[in-house]
Subunit: 132 residues, 2 copies
DNA sequence: CGTTATGGTGACGTGCACGTCAAGAACTCT
DNA sequence: AGAGTTCTTGACGTGCACGTCACCATAACG
């Protein structure tokens, strides 16, 4: 299955449209953990899932360090309860942060829509003036 | 009125929680245009509106250059029609970009909510085991 | 009148997220 | 065996968004 297939660095790059440097950099920052076949990196399904989340996080303006903490949350098997509790708290904070951001984005969108509406009206007026 | 009041750099910093360096930097990048009283900068209502948008844009992960272009759109008096048309196109692209981002953010939020739900369940299970 | 607060202009430093060589190993093709 | 491709590990370079520091001006305070 393509599910369990492992990808070379090049295949991974092509799949996600990033450079090898980026993937090695992410590994050095412990965001990805490709397995090694000799020296070569092989990226697993897990790495693909993580990279997807990394790129998404970046689009939201999160730092790689922020993203790393989120990723760790997504992959907790079983940990100390204290740590679990702590992690849940952090995650909830992030959630409310993201909710706020989404709401703000909604507002920004409608404001921009207003501006576009206004600009289109101006364009129309200019056309009228032209015709006269 | 507090509307037409102009602010010194320090007042502006306190109002928006940024450093003087940041405001000077934004001016050098033509994001703000404080008037000068002698040498000193005085920030107008316009600068306040722009700074608000700048900081919001930053939270969305936009670069200062991206933001500058958006700001220019927000402040077009009357320009060349061609330029207006061009600007509307750019704005519409940004809009769809932002919409996409908002949708994606909504998805990320619900995914994170799922993870939190799962983590809380784990925490509960751990508590059960403890009690036994 | 000296000092403290506030503001100014360079100019150099910094953290992040990579880009860009350089040099070498490993495999493939001919 | 030689050439080419793909990969590796350093190590240094780069653009962005400021931070920091040195040094100068000006106004207010005691």
């Amino acid at each position: 299955m393509t599910e369990d297939e492992v990808l070379t660095i090049r295949e991974m790059c092509d799949a996600f449209n990033v450079t090898p440097r980026t993937l090695r950099f992410y590994e050095s920052k412990e965001l990805l953990f490709p397995i090694r076949e000799g020296q070569k990196r092989l990226f697993t399904r897990r790495d693909r899932a993580r990279l997807k989340l990394i790129l998404r996080g970046k689009r939201f303006g999160f730092s790689l360090e922020d993203i790393r903490q989120l990723l760790d949350l997504y992959e907790m098997g079983d940990q100390q309860k204290t740590q679990l509790h702590e992690t849940i708290k952090i995650a909830q904070q992030r959630m409310s942060e993201m909710s706020r951001q989404r709401d703000e984005l909604g507002q920004a969108i409608s404001e921009l829509a207003d501006q576009i509406g206004w600009a289109e009206k101006q364009l129309d007026k200019a056309r009228q003036t032209d015709a006269a």
